[in-house]
């Protein structure tokens, strides 16, 4: 190293510090504010009349049926849609792996669902596809003599609907990443296995998946965090209903804060939400970092 680290910092700071200051103002400060507010009993429209609540909000959270069920729904939603998009996306990537005429066009068309605003996708599905009486899905089902359910407004179909829309929205994303990863994969070990007589699925399971492990883990983290904080699709489609059937954590925080105006309580919920996802990500990332440290 030619320069001491201190001099490096002096020279680097002019590039880096502006970004850090901005991130501090729009991210760190609000986050600290949320943590602080979580210890107070405060009302949205009367912030001046507040009283210190200590851990009261947190104790209340873990006795609150609506919050606990929101936690459960969020886990369920995240688990099902992450698992389905990862598996489906990977299988589709395999399907698209070998070159064919029009491959580039097909991949280009598949990017369309993911560049659309989630709000728009949600609305399209809700109003034009899953509408019970004139929606095309129920009409399609009726061709087979199936009477389609009231998708958005009944249990458990509301949750199933939002999961379906999320899978439709997110599968192409996983698929594109996996397709790109497959295309740069070294062919030799695969061919060697082929000569040894390993069948296609054996090759996928024992060679392709292990060599994509890093990519898969990062995609997994990405998918988990995105689904976990899902707001747009759920809020647009169901507003958390029927009853509180699809009230995911983000929607819970939003409603508690802006419908019942319990600012302190809502922020306490948001903090719990943040801690859960933080710990989850750390648990997934730590083994990778540790492994990298060993290699270095």
């Amino acid at each position: 190293m030619r320069f001491s680290r201190k001099i490096e910092w002096q020279k680097a700071s002019i590039y880096i510090v502006p970004s850090l200051i901005i991130l501090f103002i729009i991210a760190i400060y609000p986050m600290l504010y949320a943590i602080w507010t979580g210890f107070w009993d405060s009302h949205l429209h009367r912030p001046e009349v507040r009283s210190f609540a200590g851990l009261e909000n947190y104790i209340k959270l873990f006795l609150d049926h609506r919050f606990l069920s929101s936690l459960g729904i969020t886990f369920l939603f995240t688990l099902i849609s992450v698992a389905s998009t990862m598996i489906l996306g990977f299988l589709l990537a395999l399907l698209f792996e070998k070159p064919f005429k029009g491959k580039n066009t097909a991949l280009a068309l598949l990017t369309i669902p993911m560049v659309m605003a989630p709000v728009v996708s949600a609305l399209i599905w809700k109003v034009f596809l899953l509408e019970p009486d004139v929606g095309i899905v129920n009409w399609f089902l009726s061709l087979f003599g199936i009477r389609g359910p009231y998708w958005i407004s009944t249990t458990p179909w509301a949750l199933i609907s939002v999961i379906i829309v999320n899978i439709w929205f997110m599968t192409p994303f996983v698929m594109l990443i996996m397709e790109a990863a497959l295309s740069v994969l070294s062919k030799e070990p695969i061919e060697a296995a082929m000569i040894d007589g390993a069948g296609y699925w054996k090759r996928v399971w024992y060679i392709i998946i292990p060599s994509l492990k890093g990519k898969i883990l990062f995609t997994l983290i990405f998918r988990i965090t995105i689904d976990y904080r899902m707001f747009d699709i759920v809020y647009t489609m169901t507003r958390g209903g029927p009853a509180f059937d699809t009230e995911m954590l983000s929607v819970w925080v939003y409603s508690v804060a802006l419908r019942t105006f319990q600012m302190g309580y809502a922020n306490a919920g948001a903090v719990v939400m943040m801690i859960i996802i933080g710990v989850t990500c750390l648990l997934i990332i730590l083994p990778i970092i540790r492994k990298k440290g060993e290699l270095a």
Binding site: R5, I124, F231, C281
Partner: protein, 280 residues
């Protein structure tokens, strides 16, 4: 004999694969095509069961959209998205360069911090920002929303641009330094021009995310800075108003058209951006 049979088997599999690919693309695009059709339907055709594919097209839904203040929302979305992305690029690209070119203490920490901002549940920022911004009186102003939207694009820009800068070899810097170029000149006239395709990718990606944003806009845009996504959900209907089908379809199509066009025009770059988002 068996060779011929194997060949036909391979061929059948190949045809089966192509059929599956067509089905996949169809499923992915069908909702959009369906709404595109719906946006040209008259109210009567919209409600018809079984659904009609051939009908007398009408532009009335689009003129309805125009009369519902569409331009107001469009302008807001455009201003907020473009300004916030421009600002993020101005501060984020140098930061990415700094993180790529200097061996400073705590670099991994900073990168991890930037990454974690992107993965945080946004609601944890949104509520306090509502509080803080109300107190400052900037709810519903462009400035407020633009500043908040940096939260979406800045981490993305730093993270992706650092990867692009990392791929420009250090030997380029060293050669320029030997010729007496200052650090800033190396950044501005050598490394940055080498990374222009990367910058284009990052810009497009950030613009798309800002254009599509909903949560912050819903909470912080007040009445004067409401964006297209917030404007759209007004027609969903509620307790006393009915769903306005025609309006919804035309509005949806107009929101997604710029993004879809952009995505198709620079599709290769876009795909690179999406895959770059999960680069380790």
């Amino acid at each position: 004999m068996s060779k011929v049979r194997r060949l036909t088997k391979v061929r059948t599999l190949e045809i089966l694969r192509l059929i599956m690919i067509v089905v996949v693309v169809f499923v992915a695009l069908f909702p959009i095509i369906w709404v595109l059709l719906a946006s040209f339907k008259s109210p009567g055709d919209l409600m018809r069961v079984p659904p009609v594919v051939f009908f007398q097209p009408t532009l009335s839904n689009y003129s309805d959209v125009a009369s519902e203040n569409f331009l107001f929302y469009f302008k807001n979305s455009l201003i907020v998205a473009i300004s916030s992305v421009a600002l993020s690029i101005m501060v984020g690209v140098p930061a990415a360069f700094g993180l790529s070119r200097f061996s400073i203490k705590g670099k991994e920490g900073i990168m991890l911090f930037v990454l974690s901002v992107r993965f945080m549940p946004y609601i944890i920022f949104a509520l306090p920002l509502f509080f803080i911004m109300s107190r400052l009186g900037v709810i519903g102003t462009y400035g407020g929303l633009i500043f908040v939207y940096i939260i979406i694009s800045l981490p993305l820009i730093i993270w992706l641009m650092k990867a692009f800068f990392d791929s420009v070899p250090y030997s380029v810097d060293e050669a320029a330094a030997l010729d007496g170029a200052s650090q800033f000149r190396i950044f501005w006239q050598i490394v940055l021009p080498c990374s222009l395709p990367g910058l284009a990718t990052v810009t497009i990606l950030s613009l798309i995310f800002a254009w599509n944003e909903y949560l912050f806009a819903l909470i912080l845009s007040g009445r004067d800075a409401q964006t297209l996504t917030v404007g759209l959900t007004r027609f969903l209907g509620g307790m006393e108003t009915a769903v306005r089908w025609g309006m919804l379809s035309a509005w949806s199509i107009t929101i997604i058209t710029p993004v879809v066009l952009m995505a198709l025009l620079v599709n290769r770059q876009l795909r690179k951006g999406f895959t770059g988002m999960v680069e380790d």
